[in-house]
Each structure stands twice: as structure tokens, then as C-alpha cells.
């Protein structure tokens, strides 16, 4: 093992070496998401900015696709990170996993280049295969879609085979079944049908069920592992809670899908189903507050990695406010009739994705950096701790600012464009020119700059944290006893 504070792959096992590659690409793609988001934000204020060179439609597509892919890279990396540790055996088929990483990364680069360079021209069947599949958020051409499924299947093989060879823990069981759904549900976004209602029906299986079922469960597994490692919570308790939380999430989340079926031409019973489960969806979140307080009372929040713990706590709050509060404000069909597809949705989406998913990936990257530097002490009083604290603050302040600004613009749109204007083209442009909309977009931009500064600081911190630290990490009591 290399000296404390020195970045050395000798400190990592095989799965973790692969994981840090995924984390590196994930953070780079996070940067791309921020960059294209900022460009799209400027174009809201100055519509002719980069017009004809890098159009708003391309920027927006890159902003959202980069988010989906960096989170996916982060999740895959996090699973490889825990794999050997959790199973007690080296990763089965690690070479295939490494090959998959390079193929996946190369495919992402090619898709981004195609997005940037080839997005105008006639739409033909071959453009679905080679240029853009046309479905919002999952625009990747079909060759890349198939590639993603193959990559996820290789990932599934690595995970399932490793757990089957080693320890098949409770976390392993949930994870393996979740990965089947992760690969399987993506296929639903690849049908071709000329009926737009049917097309949207299947498309939501990817968008909603990936996000509110498979990703949430994956995050539950990662958090369970994180709690064992950073706070020394007993495995039996964590695994029992993982089963309970998966049941709660699936119980309300799967048919919560119905709130996306309100206005796409599906039968009207979806209004009842979607309304019912949307009303109940926040109950598990509220119930989990009880569990969090119970655990906090028991484990006194002791941790050997303060930045990771801070980001995990941020995840609990972000998930609650972003998904719970911001979701429920506009989820009932009686009000969603006016708010869907406005900046209200963007406000909810920004806070929910950042709060529920970005936070947990960042927490895992901090766990990885700690081990990469030889299990170095990472606390609030270490040298250069101001960087992770300011990155945490600026990213949250920027995100909250953007969320509030988009909330105001969405509120204005729901009134001027939808309720008063009746969703006509004229009303759409009236709402876009309204002073509340313009001011909201200005504040969103200012907050976006704060977020960008936070990202730069985060990237800098991840490259340098623990560099001058010579104290070893102290394991939480239960973990130390188990070691």
C-alpha cells in the first residue's frame, strides 16, 4: 500500500480500479451537463446566442442526456466500487467490464459528436439508427441504444456472477434483481410506433420507471452499503430496512407512473390511478423521516469521511424536498392540467435529480478518493476542508436558486399561458415575454453561475482532497470490530 495521502491504484481492488474510471468519466460528464445547461440558460435570455452554430434544441438535449449518462456512469462505478468488498471475492469477468467501460465511453463520445455536428437534415429511418431516435431525454440513436443495453448486460453479468461466486448478501440480492429491471426497462424506449400516445406510453416506462423505481432501488442499495461503511450501522438492520424501503417505493412508485399518463391520450382511468398513487407517494418519504431520526439517535452520526456523510445527508433532504414537496405541489390532475410541461416541471426535475441522485454519486466519489489515497482521514478540520464545504454550499445554493427561479416562471406560465391563454401559440409567447418569466430566467442564470462555481470547486477538491493529510481514517466501531 502506498503512503497515506498519495493517489495510488495499489490502494484499490480490481473492481475499485474500474470504478474510479467510471467516476472520472461521470464527473467529466457532470461538467458537460453544467456547461450545456449554462449555454441553454443564456439562450433563454439571448435567443440569438450561438443560433445556427449550437442551437438551443441541441444544448438542451446535451444538458439532459449528459445528466442521464453521468448518473448512469456514477451508479455503475459505485456498484463496481462495492462489488468485491460486498461479495468477498474478485470481480468475475473484470476484463470484460473494463472493455465495456472503454466501449461505453467511446460510444458516448461518438454520440456527443453526432449531437454537436449532425442534427439538421431530412428525417429518415436511417437517421433513427445513426443520428437521433427523436424521443425526448433518450435521443441517442438506436445503435447506441443497443450498445447501452449490451453494456448494462455485461455489467449485470459482472455483478451477478461475482455475487454468485462469493457472498450473496441481502444488498446483493436486491441489486441483482434491480439490474435486470434496469436493462429490461430500457428496451421499452426502443419500440417504433406511429401512434404518439402509444409511443409516449412506452417512453414513460423508461423515464419514470427507471427514475422512480430502478434508480431509487439502486440508490437504496448504495446508501445501505454507505451506512454500513461510514456509520458502522449493523448489516442485518440495514438489509431489513432495504427490503422495507424497496416495498414502500415499489408500492407507491410503480403505479405513480399514472401521473405521466394524464394528458398523453391514454384512457381516463389513468387520472384516477395516477391521482391516487401520486397522493400516496410522499407517505413513504414522510415515514422514512422517522427511520432517519431513529438511526441518528442510535449512531450519533460518527463518520470517518465527513464530505461523504455530508453529501449523504444532503441526499436525504434533497430527495424529500425535490421529489416529495416539489412533486406533490403539482401532481394532482386538477392542477397538473395547467402545470405539466411548464418550467414548473423543470423546477421539480432540477431539485429532484440533484437531490436524489447527484448527491449520492458525489458521496461515493468522496468515498473512492479516500480509499484511493490510502484510507486517509477526511474531516471538517483537515487542511483544505474549505473546498468541500464551499463546493457543497455553492452547489446547493445554486440549485435552490435555480429551483426557486424556475418555480416562479412555471407559476407565471401556468397562469398566463395555460389557464388564461388556453395553451395557444400566442399565449405561449405572451408567457415567455412576461416580466416574471424574464426575471425568473435572469435569476436562474445568476444561480447557474453559483452552481458552476460550485462544480469547479468540487472538481478541484476531488483532485486534491487528502493530498497533504497524514492521519489514517478511523473506522466506525461496528465496522472496525467486523474487520
Amino acid at each position: 500500500m502506498a503512503a497515506l495521502g498519495t493517489l495510488s491504484s495499489a490502494n484499490l481492488n480490481g473492481g475499485q480500479k474500474l470504478a474510479v474510471k467510471f467516476f472520472t468519466v461521470a464527473i467529466a460528464l457532470f461538467g458537460a451537463q453544467v456547461l450545456f445547461g449554462m449555454l441553454a440558460g443564456i439562450q433563454y435570455l439571448k435567443p440569438d446566442f450561438l443560433f445556427g452554430i449550437l442551437d438551443f434544441s441541441v444544448n438542451r438535449m446535451l444538458h439532459i442526456n449528459a445528466m442521464v449518462v453521468w448518473l448512469l456512469f456514477g451508479f455503475i462505478g459505485a456498484v463496481y466500487w462495492i462489488l468485491e468488498d460486498e461479495s468477498g471475492t474478485p470481480v468475475v469477468g473484470l476484463g470484460l467490464g473494463n472493455l465495456m467501460f472503454w466501449v461505453f465511453t467511446l460510444a458516448v463520445v461518438v454520440v456527443v459528436l453526432v449531437y454537436l455536428l449532425v442534427q439538421t437534415g431530412p428525417g429518415e429511418l436511417k437517421s433513427i439508427w445513426l443520428i437521433n431516435e427523436g424521443r425526448e431525454y433518450i435521443e441517442a440513436p438506436r445503435w447506441a441504444d443497443i450498445g447501452i443495453v449490451v453494456c448494462v448486460l455485461i455489467f449485470f453479468y459482472n455483478v451477478a456472477a461475482t455475487f454468485m461466486k462469493g457472498r450473496f448478501t441481502g444488498i446483493a440480492g436486491v441489486l441483482v434483481f434491480d439490474l435486470v429491471a434496469l436493462a429490461g426497462l430500457y428496451l421499452a424506449g426502443m419500440w417504433y410506433t406511429p401512434n404518439i400516445s402509444m409511443d409516449q406510453h412506452w417512453w414513460w416506462w423508461v423515464i419514470h420507471l427507471w427514475v422512480e423505481a430502478t434508480w431509487e432501488v439502486l440508490v437504496g442499495c448504495l446508501l445501505a452499503y454507505g451506512l454500513v461503511k461510514t456509520m458502522g450501522v449493523r448489516r442485518k438492520i440495514v438489509e431489513t430496512w432495504l427490503y422495507i424501503e424497496v416495498a414502500l417505493l415499489f408500492g407507491s412508485g410503480i403505479l405513480g407512473l399514472g401521473h405521466h399518463y394524464f394528458w398523453i391520450g391514454t384512457p381516463e382511468y389513468w387520472l384516477s390511478i395516477g391521482g391516487f398513487f401520486s397522493a400516496l407517494e410522499p407517505i413513504p418519504l414522510v415515514a422514512m423521516v422517522v427511520h432517519a431520526v431513529f438511526d441518528a439517535g442510535h449512531h450519533k452520526m460518527k463518520s470517518a469521511n465527513h464530505p461523504a456523510l455530508a453529501w449523504m445527508i444532503a441526499q436525504a433532504f434533497g430527495n424529500f424536498f425535490g421529489a416529495g414537496v416539489w412533486g406533490f405541489m403539482h401532481t394532482l390532475p386538477q392542477i397538473n392540467l395547467y402545470t405539466h410541461g411548464t418550467q414548473w416541471t423543470a423546477s421539480h426535475g432540477h431539485l429532484a435529480f440533484f437531490g436524489a441522485y447527484s448527491t449520492i454519486v458525489i458521496a461515493f466519489v468522496y468515498l473512492a478518493v479516500q480509499k484511493w489515497r490510502g484510507d486517509v482521514w477526511m474531516s471538517g478540520n483537515m487542511a483544505g476542508a474549505w473546498k468541500w464545504k464551499w463546493a457543497l454550499f455553492l452547489l446547493h445554493a445554486g440549485m435552490i436558486g435555480m429551483t426557486m427561479a424556475l418555480l416562479i416562471t412555471g407559476y407565471e406560465q401556468s397562469q398566463i399561458e395555460r389557464a388564461i391563454g388556453g395553451s395557444t401559440w400566442t399565449a405561449y409567447f405572451e408567457a415567455q415575454a412576461h416580466v416574471w418569466f424574464v426575471q425568473g430566467m435572469n435569476w436562474r442564470m445568476i444561480s447557474g453561475w453559483a452552481f458552476t462555481a460550485g462544480f469547479v470547486l468540487l472538481a478541484w477538491d476531488l483532485m486534491t482532497i487528502g493530498k497533504r493529510e497524514t492521519r489514517p481514517a478511523q473506522l466506525p466501531a461496528a465496522e472496525a470490530a467486523a474487520a
Binding site: I237, I244, A279, L280, V286, A287, V289, H298
Partner: protein
């Protein structure tokens, strides 16, 4: 200019009036926030053994109930049996969820430490 609904649509939902938009957003947010406050105070009271926090927890639940009723009125939920049933289900669900989760917490931590034993004796 409000969209005219068909008679079939009216059975299922009655859209919010323009003047009630803010009330709907605010009361819906309050439902979740009061729900979290209720759960927080409830759990804190039990985990720390401070029974005087429990009335505050139920006061938060009353805030939640008031928010649900305001939301129900503003979103026209009381105009149909189906939506009235959902309102009642929300009230019951938010009330019992912290109790249920507390029992699960105690059950999963059996014998772990003194605090749990105290809780079990209650």
C-alpha cells in the same frame, strides 16, 4: 379562458380555478412539510424519551389535516366521492405511517441498545 370539460371528464376531475392556484401549491407543499414535521417530532419524542414533544407532533398533524382540507377545497376534491376518499386516505395514511415505521424501527433494532429497550417498554 378556461377549457370546457366534457361531462365524462367532470366525473373524474374538476380543474382548479385560476384564483386558487397559489392556495393549491401552498397547501400541497404544507401537507408534505407538516407531514415531515409530525414524523420528526414524533420520532424525536420517542427516541429521546421526551413526551412533552408528542403534543407538538400531533399539533403538526393538525396542521397537516388543515392543509389537506384546504387543498381538498381549492382543488375541488370534495366534489366527487372518489377524490373525497383519497383525501380521507391521505389523512389516515399520514397519521399511521410514523407509528408503523416506529414499530418497524423498534422491531429491527431489538436488543441493540438501552434506548430500544426503553422504547419497547412503552
Amino acid at each position: 379562458m378556461r377549457r370546457t370539460l366534457t361531462s365524462q371528464e367532470r366525473v373524474v376531475i374538476e380543474p382548479v380555478h385560476l384564483a386558487d392556484f397559489f392556495t393549491v401549491f401552498f397547501s400541497a407543499a404544507s401537507v408534505i412539510l407538516f407531514g415531515a414535521l409530525y414524523a420528526l417530532l414524533f420520532a424525536w419524542s420517542r427516541v429521546r424519551g421526551r413526551p412533552r414533544l408528542m403534543p407538538m407532533a400531533y399539533a403538526a398533524y393538525l396542521g397537516l389535516a388543515a392543509s389537506v382540507i384546504v387543498l381538498g377545497n381549492a382543488a375541488n376534491l370534495f366534489n366527487s366521492h372518489y377524490w373525497t376518499f383519497i383525501v380521507l386516505l391521505m389523512l389516515v395514511g399520514y397519521l399511521v405511517a410514523p407509528h408503523a415505521i416506529w414499530h418497524l424501527c423498534v422491531g429491527t433494532h431489538v436488543g441493540e441498545d438501552e434506548a430500544v429497550k426503553v422504547s419497547q417498554q412503552r
